[in-house]
């Protein structure tokens, strides 16, 4: 069994790198890029943790994970115990360990961060979850007292999944309604296989089902049944339908044939498995030269997907610079390594096409950064006379998402703000209608997996209080 190492030693060690698939190989396949820690890597990294008495890292984790405790159990090689420790508060550890922006969350709050040596907490979490899955470790819950109250959850993204799991664990009868044919939300239709393998998402959802959550797919709340109808059948409702509607720039030419929203491009590729066309029936277009508009995770995912589908040249067109880009640094680095061409400080003006609707270029203009705007980021300003045409034949618009009104329309008395997001109480996630709660992207706008998980947890507590 491995041991705690002396404090002095802990300071000497440098953070452990996570192995990755070779860049020349990975651009031709959809397999996972990051390969995860080995047992040795994990123990080495875990031994660096100072086991702080008042661990600041935990303030950075919306899933309330007892971080030093699960890390300690890694050092002790008690991986099962470590897994169960995490499961106490987070039901999606293999997922969170992969896509949670940990450098902005737990790791940023770790005391080691000042010395640029923050513990790679998410990678450790991933290791533990992967180990447990490989070794078929399941947490059996017995003797849960049934509460005889029914709760409906709308949407099976991280918010809905977390809330269902937390509620079923304390004895509620929980039904999760999902519009698509598979549960998981953005985890299955948005985030690509090479960052988050779908088998892993399926596995963790399977574990939540084992707890006793009923999942009804193919059920569109607002169409199949309204929220008002659900309110008659259920004692409480949690709305977690995400911010699923695509946004466009309203540029001339935006409805030409091969202009995709990132949602369409990624849904075709991920959910419908169009990357395996024609083995799967759903087609996807592969451009020769592709422009992806945007600078967030969604843009990176679209660009890297296009590359893997066989596009010769992928341009990422973003009006600010890499410093302002909202994507995780790791994603930017991966994209750059893979050969995505970054056209920063560039604003698209018009997509050009022929009579048949085929794209034959995109007119852009160069920008420079001026004074900071309301968001605190420096405002991009046109540089007159720098218009040019980017030679592309396919364009993907990845500038974010908006609220889809289907659910809200069917929920009398549940108020939304001017963008269509639900208005909720920050602490309880309760909406303006009693017994109805909401969280995740449909409250925050496009945010993160872990903030959705956090909302799911808060809502579960509030629902439990409400039903007492």
């Amino acid at each position: 069994m491995a041991k705690m190492i002396p404090m002095k030693e802990r300071g000497k060690r440098t953070p452990r790198h996570m192995p990755e698939q070779d860049v020349h190989k990975r651009i031709h396949n959809f397999n996972e890029v990051s390969l995860g820690y080995t047992k040795e890597d994990a123990i080495y990294e875990a031994q660096r943790c100072l086991q702080c008495r008042s661990p600041t890292c935990m303030d950075g984790c919306p899933a309330d994970i007892n971080i030093p405790e699960f890390i300690k159990k890694i050092v002790e090689e008690n991986f099962t115990g470590s897994y169960f420790e995490i499961l106490k508060t987070n039901n999606l550890p293999a997922i969170a360990g992969r896509v949670c922006p940990q450098e902005e969350q737990c790791s940023k709050a770790c005391v080691w961060n000042k010395a640029n040596k923050a513990i790679h907490i998410g990678r450790l979490e991933r290791f533990v979850a992967d180990w447990a899955r490989d070794n078929k470790i399941h947490l059996e819950r017995v003797g849960i007292e049934k509460k005889n109250k029914k709760i409906a959850i709308v949407g099976s993204g991280p918010a809905g999944l977390t809330c269902s799991a937390d509620l079923v664990k304390i004895g509620y009868d929980v039904t999760l309604f999902e519009a698509l044919q598979k549960p998981g939300g953005v985890l299955v239709y948005g985030i690509p296989e090479f960052r988050l393998p779908k088998a892993i998402v399926e596995y963790e959802i399977g574990e939540i089902k084992r707890l006793g959550v009923t999942i009804e797919t193919d059920f569109i709340v607002g169409l199949t049944k309204s929220v008002d109808e659900l309110a008659e059948e259920f004692d409480a409702i949690f709305l977690a339908n995400g911010a699923g509607a695509p946004r466009f720039l309203h540029l001339p030419g935006e409805n030409l044939n091969d202009v995709y929203s990132a949602n369409e491009f990624l849904t075709r590729s991920n959910l419908m498995k169009a990357y395996a066309f024609p083995k799967y029936d759903t087609p996807i277009k592969v451009g020769k030269k592709v422009a992806v508009i945007g600078g967030g995770n969604v843009a990176m995912d679209s660009a890297r997907t296009a590359l893997r589908l066989g596009t010769e040249e992928v341009h990422l067109v973003y009006r600010r610079t890499s410093k302002e880009a909202p994507a995780r640094k790791e994603e930017l680095t991966h994209a750059e390594e893979e050969g995505i061409i970054f056209d920063f400080l560039t604003l698209p003006l018009k997509i050009l096409g022929n009579e048949q609707g085929d794209i034959n270029g995109m007119e852009c203009i160069k920008m420079r950064l001026g004074e900071p705007d309301e968001s605190g980021r420096r405002r991009p300003i046109y540089i007159d006379g720098t218009n040019f045409i980017l030679q592309v034949d396919l364009v993907i618009v990845a500038i974010g998402t908006a609220a889809n009104p289907i659910v809200a329309r069917s929920a009398t008395g549940v108020k939304t703000n001017k963008w269509g997001y639900f208005i909720t109480d920050e602490n309880t996630c309760s909406t303006t209608r009693k017994g109805i709660f909401a969280g995740g992207d449909i409250v925050r706008g496009a945010a993160t997996v872990i903030s959705a998980v956090g909302d799911g947890k808060r809502a579960a507590k509030a629902i439990n209080n409400f039903l007492q």
């Binding site: 409805n255 277009k285 609707g357």
Partner: protein, 278 residues
């Protein structure tokens, strides 16, 4: 799970299917559609609800085999279950008392116009229905349409049945004779809907068309189905499928229908080969 309870082959390329789908049958209104997946590897296929029965809990769809997915669908039989079956999708037709209205169906569009025709008559409209197809065998649901309408006209392109010619020619004559037509509905191939608009326009009559844009989710999530209507981008699946045909940007709509033509050809070639091997 949604199970097939009856299948009929009406023609080489036209099939009708009755599917048990309790929740959808309770909710569906004329003008709405469903999306189904045959198996895990399948596409999401949108099909208009041609008829439904709330007590017996079924919906009917009528489809034409045009590519891989519809050919696979035609292979399914009684008792088979769909991997996925969702609905009802889209906005219902605006059914109310207008006075005199005309409903037009072309090809499988006849099945789509059927519940709308019936509902318009039920609320007290005089409904003049015009249905047409390329040739006699492709005229479907004639009895049902006779029942659903006040007056039924039938045309075939080749003159093999009833009147020879296009539905638009009948429309023109009817509009010249009937002075009080309030509205026209037209469902069929894009080119037919566009031509219908052109005929009705000089009479100052609105034409409601139902657009079969290429879709993925059908719930407003992907934007695949977008179409320009009155200068604004609309999503066919949630803002439609029915729109005022005079405002539709037809060129763009028809272009977007060809987005996957090449790939679909490849897919159906492979599928046919696979079928031959069996």
């Amino acid at each position: 799970m949604s199970k097939i309870i009856r299948v009929e082959k009406w023609h080489d390329v036209i099939y009708s299917m009755w599917i048990k789908a309790l929740q959808i049958s309770m909710k569906v209104q004329p003008g709405q559609f469903v999306i189904l997946m045959i198996d895990e590897k399948g596409e999401r296929i949108p099909l208009t609800v041609a008829d439904y029965h709330r007590e017996e809990g079924w919906v009917q769809v009528v489809f034409q085999t045009v590519g891989t997915s519809t050919m696979k669908l035609a292979q399914m039989s009684i008792g088979d279950e769909f991997f996925s079956f969702i609905g009802p999708l889209g906005k219902p037709s605006e059914i109310k008392k207008y006075g005199t209205v005309i409903t037009i169906g072309g090809g499988t569009g006849i099945a789509c116009i059927h519940p709308i025709t019936r509902a318009l008559k039920e609320v007290g409209n005089k409904v003049i229905a015009i249905i047409g197809a390329r040739t006699k065998e492709l005229i479907i649901m004639e009895e049902e349409m006779k029942e659903a309408s006040t007056e039924l006209h039938i045309t075939t392109d080749d003159g093999s049945y009833m009147r020879k010619g296009f539905v638009t020619e009948v429309l023109k004559e009817v509009l010249q004779g009937e002075k009080n037509v309030r509205k026209v509905w037209a469902i069929g191939p894009a080119i037919m809907m566009k031509a219908t608009c052109a005929v009705a326009k000089p009479f100052g009559i609105d034409v409601i068309v139902s657009l079969n844009a290429i879709m993925v989710d059908g719930t407003g999530m992907c934007g695949s189905c977008r179409v320009t209507v009155g200068g604004q981008t609309k999503y066919t699946c949630v803002d439609g499928p029915e729109f005022n045909g005079h405002l539709v940007e037809w060129r763009e709509f028809m272009n977007r229908l060809t987005r996957y033509t090449e790939l679909e050809k490849l897919s159906s070639k492979m599928y046919k080969k696979k079928c031959q091997r069996k």
